[in-house]
């Protein structure tokens, strides 16, 4: 028996999810300047840190929405998917990894290929999706770029490829490797025909992607601060057993070593490409 009685019944327990103020997903930290940024600010700024200008990765579809003219796009080969030619299994089957990546991105593989316009100029534009198994290049990526190049050749429109990739897809073994030769051979035909091909390298572009189409542009452009190289930094460190210098394999390093035509901030990319395409116009077909 207590001395005092409670006149009001205790509050009903609140729902677990009502107790917390929900903030997750609203804020993000910029790894470059260590500032906390409101995500909406970041998105409104094309995923570029409003404080320091660091370029965050962006999804392929989002990038094209910001880059191309608004209006009708036609997606090419959206349904092309890999059939796991090696029947590859490591700690889990490749097929499962594919299914998970497809569910997470809503794409069949790591490349979005569209026909649209840029400053009124018809273009075919391929954009790699880093969120799909690290943007790795397997037979689907190789085939879609090849078909995009064939489209560019047939319709005499410029080809733009925006890379974001860790390189060839290990789970497709030598099949991935052959895509490097396949795309490069198509680019030879494009070059012969006087069709412009612009390569845009974004963070990261390494391995077999850099060592094939990403470095073969009539213009090779990069976003600021992107990791670009053949061997990944970890592989190099293991080979030479030394720490790598700061800024090694970043866009600025490549520009300094003569591998890029220009570093173009994301906000200026659209205007830059329009400017470049005014110079790089598809040449008329040679008389047969």
């Amino acid at each position: 028996m207590t001395w005092f009685h409670k006149n009001t019944p205790p509050l009903a327990p609140t729902q677990e999810d009502e107790k917390r103020v929900r903030t997750e997903g609203l804020w993000t930290k910029c790894e470059a300047c260590r500032n906390i940024i409101w995500k909406k600010d970041l998105e409104e700024n094309l995923n570029v840190c409003p404080r320091c200008g660091a370029h965050f990765r962006i999804a392929a579809r989002q990038r094209l929405q910001w880059l191309l003219d608004p209006g009708e796009w036609r997606e090419l080969d959206a349904d092309l998917a890999s059939n796991d030619p090696l029947e590859f299994t490591d700690t889990k089957p490749y097929r499962e990894r594919l299914r998970a990546a497809q569910a997470a991105t809503g794409m069949k593989d790591a490349l979005l290929s569209v026909v649209g316009t840029l400053g009124g100029q018809p273009v075919v534009c391929c954009t790699m999706e880093y969120g799909f198994i690290g943007g790795s290049m397997g037979c689907v990526v190789g085939e879609k770029i090849t078909r995009a190049a064939e489209y560019a050749l047939k319709n005499r429109v410029p080809l733009i490829v925006i890379s974001a990739s860790g390189g060839a897809r290990m789970m497709e073994g030598a099949v991935s490797l052959m895509q490097m030769g396949k795309v490069a051979a198509q680019l030879a035909l494009l070059d012969d025909a006087g069709i412009p091909y612009i390569s845009v390298l974004t963070d990261p572009t390494t391995g077999g992607v850099t060592a094939s189409y990403a470095m073969l542009g009539d213009l090779n452009l990069a976003e600021p601060g992107a990791l670009i190289g053949f061997a990944g930094p970890r592989v190099i460190e293991q080979t030479i057993r030394q720490k790598l210098p700061d800024g090694f394999q970043r866009s600025e390093f490549l520009l300094e070593h003569g591998m890029l035509d220009a570093i173009v901030p994301r906000k200026q990319m659209r205007e830059y490409l329009i400017r470049a395409l005014a110079f790089c116009q598809p040449q008329p077909a040679a008389p047969a």
Partner: protein, 278 residues
């Protein structure tokens, strides 16, 4: 590594890892051994005219069964000193640029090109990156595609990723029976996918990097049988079989025009590795 290990030829049971060991065998014939055995009048040509002469990637004029040919290939060293000098067969951008220079020389004088592939991969290092390893490989892929002479590539040991393909865009790609061709070394694949380099045997199996598997996948054109126990046990016999295969494959292109050779190569790669779910 056991230097006396051997593998019965044509055995179906030979697992992928055993072939990896044979492909890397310290006594396996190297590029210049084959040149000595199957060519005469080899005359090495040096340098990329831009930076250096890369001894990991060797090339030159040679006479093959009465015909002038250009031969290029990666060269590993036989002893430690030579291995260091040749950077263990891992070429830098200057090596790949030299190879392209020599291939264009061959094209100018309408000589066929034989490319001998034997490398773990293009060299991953600071200097190679600074001088544009990726660009050097990429340009070779595109420019090899449009060469207007017959190009035959043969993987004689290890075909390591982009560093192999950058001298391997050919009209015909042949592989010695116990050579391997892969997008990554089994050790590299094991560390990334299994996070355990000791899983290299499983990785070798999963990567389908053996000649018979790659033939089945349609990525190469011919498997050249090795002598009983592997190429290193009977190098002269291996060289004779290889020479016969090269001559036979070169014959295929006698009637091709310059443009047809280019188109044939583009088409060969256009049709390689198309595996789509429907």
């Amino acid at each position: 590594m056991d230097l006396n290990m051997s593998l019965p030829s044509h055995s179906q049971g030979a697992d992928a890892w055993q072939r990896v060991l044979l492909a890397r065998h310290a006594q396996r014939p190297y590029f210049l051994d084959y040149i000595r055995d199957i060519c005469t009048d080899f005359c090495e040509l040096h340098g990329d005219r831009r930076f250096a002469d890369d001894e990991a990637l060797v090339g030159g004029m040679a006479v093959f069964r009465g015909r002038q040919v250009m031969v290029i290939g990666q060269q590993r060293g036989r002893d430690l000193k030579e291995r260091m000098r040749r950077n263990f067969g891992q070429a830098k951008p200057e090596g790949y640029r030299k190879a392209l220079r020599l291939m264009r020389l061959a094209e100018k004088f309408q000589r066929p090109i034989f490319s001998f592939i034997d490398t773990q991969g293009a060299y991953p290092g600071i200097d190679a990156e600074e001088r544009g390893q990726a660009e050097a490989l990429a340009v070779n892929l595109r420019e090899m595609a449009r060469l207007r002479v017959p190009v035959l590539a043969v993987i004689i040991g290890e075909g390591g990723s982009g560093g192999a393909l950058a001298i391997g865009v050919a009209n015909r790609v042949l592989m010695l029976e116990n050579s391997i061709y892969s997008v990554i070394t089994p050790e590299g694949c094991a560390s990334i996918m299994w996070r355990d380099p000791e899983k290299k045997q499983a990785a070798a199996e999963a990567l389908r990097l053996t000649a018979p598997e790659l033939l089945r996948l349609g990525l190469i054109d011919e498997v050249i049988p090795e002598p009983e126990g592997g190429a290193h046990l009977h190098p002269e016999q291996m060289a004779a079989t290889l020479a016969e295969a090269l001559e036979r494959n070169l014959e295929l292109f006698t009637a091709f025009s310059k443009m047809e050779l280019y188109q044939h190569r583009v088409k060969r790669y256009r049709n390689a590795g198309n595996f789509f779910a429907h």
